[in-house]
């Protein structure tokens, strides 16, 4: 898997005038044929990364490579990447067929060749028979497919998708998630997908870059990021979390809520203050005498697949629990969790330090961390 990266950012910064930088000294690599997701809240700089790759804006400083070729000053129309825009940006004066053919016509391809490619692209996105429709006659989901067909017909090596699902309703969105993932695997090209929806990111990606305030907070597979968030922001942004202040007594032993618990984390200094993450679904409800922690139930919400319980321990810490079991409001319950459910986060740890620490676990044969 040590192929040359298809896209490489080296210390890239993007800044307008004297405003704080939108993208602050970002470096990363993307491999060929993978599904990447740039995940972050709005205004975090994820779309800026996309526009830097497509060439619609230029970096203030830093280097951007495409297959080891510096492309900082290559204009957008000369790059082998294509974009699916958030509002689809379909040309309203052209019909479906001509929208898809746009890029090919620009390249002055022969008509019969264009015809072959356009029909193939439309077949790829299940839009056969819609060739002569006007754009305004298409539904949101169909426009989305036209936009994808228009991008992939040019056979880009990288397809950029700028929150393409945000305008669709929930059901269609879930459907498109499957379709996009499948499409990426069939085409075998690199997808860079921008979203603020963590579920989308977890469901589709090979790798997720979590971005906040112009910096990449964490890179990793969906599992890595969900199970081992690097800091409070990532833990909160990806899924729901119980985050509590604690103290690392020594390796494999953490103290929080006035009690000591066995855990699987290591590489901390003795008695180092830390933050502890336990996912709501890792907490099991039992009787108070069997629980590792005892809490009092405050509210119960029925969420369909599970109940969401909000409860407080005696120190006033809030605990969110996802459980299929129901509990009475006001009842004392015990919480049980495995040592693996505890994830310890160090304050202010950089990604490199975090990765290095996780890797050191492997030598002990504990948890895998890629």
């Amino acid at each position: 898997m040590t192929e040359q990266p298809i896209i490489r950012f080296e210390n890239v910064t993007k800044q307008y005038d004297d405003d704080p930088p939108i993208l602050d000294n970002v470096s990363f690599e993307m491999e060929k044929g993978k599904f990447y997701t740039l995940l972050g809240p709005s205004g975090c700089g994820k779309t800026t990364i996309l526009r830097l790759i497509s060439g619609l804006i230029e970096a203030t400083s830093g280097k951007i490579y495409f297959k080891d070729k510096l492309i900082n000053h290559v204009p957008a129309n000369k790059r082998q990447v294509n974009t699916v825009f958030q509002d689809y940006a379909l040309f309203p004066h052209l019909n479906v067929y001509e929208n898809v053919a746009f890029g090919l016509r620009i390249r002055k391809m022969k008509n019969d060749e264009i015809d072959k490619k356009v029909r193939e692209a439309l077949r790829f996105v299940n839009l056969v028979g819609f060739e002569n429709r006007e754009i305004k006659e298409m539904s949101g989901g169909q426009r989305q497919r036209v936009a994808i067909a228009r991008a992939i017909v040019n056979e880009p090596e990288v397809l950029l998708l700028d929150e393409p699902l945000s305008a669709l309703d929930l059901k269609l969105r879930t459907e498109m998630q499957y379709e996009l993932r499948e499409l990426q695997q069939r085409l075998g090209i690199t997808f860079v997908f921008v979203t603020h929806d963590q579920e989308e990111a977890l469901a589709m990606s090979d790798e997720i870059f979590v971005i906040n305030e112009g910096k990449i907070q964490q890179k990793g597979t969906p599992r890595d990021i969900y199970d081992e968030p690097i800091n409070r922001f990532v833990a909160n942004f990806i899924g729901e979390s119980n985050i509590i202040k604690g103290k690392m007594i020594r390796d494999f032993l953490v103290e929080f809520d006035g009690k000591q618990f066995e855990c699987v984390d290591q590489g901390f200094s003795p008695n180092e203050p830390v933050e502890v993450v336990i996912r709501p679904e890792d907490l099991e409800i039992t009787t108070p005498d069997r629980g590792k922690l005892n809490v009092k139930v405050d509210t119960v919400l029925f969420r369909g697949v599970h109940y969401e319980l909000c409860s407080y321990d005696e120190n006033g810490n809030e605990w969110i629990i996802h459980s299929t079991k129901k509990a009475e409001i006001g009842a004392e319950i015990g919480l049980y969790f495995e040592p693996e459910a505890i994830h310890v986060m160090r304050f202010g740890e950089t990604e490199e330090e975090f990765d290095a620490r996780l890797e050191s676990y492997d030598s002990y044969g504990d948890k895998d961390a890629d």
Binding site: S54, G55, L56, P75, A76, N77, K78, V81, N82, T83, F85, Q86, D87, A89, L90, F91, P92, H93, L94, F102, G103, I106, R107, R150, A151, N154
Partner: protein
């Protein structure tokens, strides 16, 4: 129910008042009596007179040539101008240019006509066809700009991003995306310029010279010389022609999906 019939009556009265003089004029163009009262019998003699009057026919031709030429040229210039203003990054420069443009539209024709007359005299351009054409182009350009600009502004900027992303050069973006998108605005601008030029009197009156005249100026001088029902006949034909223009405009804008209001003459 009562409210509805009241508003219908009101509307009917307003339109009657607006159109009555025109229909009155048209009605007497068929009067064999030669007067604007006492309708004697139906005749087409004034129309015959009109079509035998070669001088008048040449003037009609002049008017049409001036209108078509000036609106075509001002459509090109105005479209370039609108794209230029739209392309400007600095908001302030944009507003200044737009205001300069709008001032030309709202300023009185008399002032524009007089200033053109002064300018042509100083520069030494002979008054006649070219001076009328130049001044018609001049007052039509701002109109075209104002008709084209909204189309540009409603265009999403991602359309241009998308075109570039698909490999389009700046020239391609202009010809394959921007121009097709604003075509309805360009057509509307052309038609507006055409109507403005056809019925312009004040500006033309100033800059027209010996031996060259347009219809509105000619009708004015004919009306001053005394009443001839040839004017009525001519006016009737002009009115029908205008209706044709409006219908043409309607179908073009209908094809483009929406009707852009024909602005009223100032």
């Amino acid at each position: 129910m009562k409210k509805k019939s009241l508003s219908t009556i009101y509307l009917t009265i307003v339109f009657l008042i607006l159109y009555a003089p025109i229909f009155y004029l048209m009605y007497y163009s068929f009067n064999s009596g030669g007067k604007m009262y006492e309708f004697e019998s139906f005749s087409l003699e004034w129309y015959k007179d009109l079509f035998q009057n070669t001088r008048l026919l040449i003037i009609v031709l002049n008017t049409i040539i001036i209108a078509l030429l000036s609106s075509a040229i001002s459509t090109i210039l105005g479209t370039i101008g609108a794209v230029g203003i739209w392309h400007l990054k600095k908001r302030q420069t944009k507003n200044v240019l737009l205001s300069l443009n709008n001032i030309l539209i709202v300023s009185p024709d008399v002032i524009i006509g007089a200033s053109f007359l002064i300018m042509f005299t100083i520069v030494g351009i002979k008054l006649g066809f070219s001076s009328v054409l130049l001044s018609h182009i001049a007052f039509s350009v701002p109109i075209v700009v104002i008709m084209v600009l909204p189309k540009l502004q409603e265009m999403s900027s991602t359309l241009i991003d998308a075109a570039k992303d698909l490999g389009a050069s700046n020239f391609n973006v202009l010809t394959k995306v921007i121009l097709p998108y604003i075509t309805p605005g360009i057509f509307a601008g052309f038609f507006m310029a055409l109507t403005y030029s056809l019925d312009d009197f004040a500006v033309t009156f100033f800059v027209t010279g010996n031996g060259f005249s347009t219809l509105s100026v000619e009708i004015y001088s004919m009306a001053r010389q005394g009443v001839s029902l040839t004017i009525n006949a001519l006016s009737t034909i002009l009115f029908l022609f205008t209706i044709l223009l409006v219908i043409g405009y309607y179908f073009i804008s209908k094809r483009n999906g929406r009707i852009i209001g024909l602005g009223a003459r100032k």
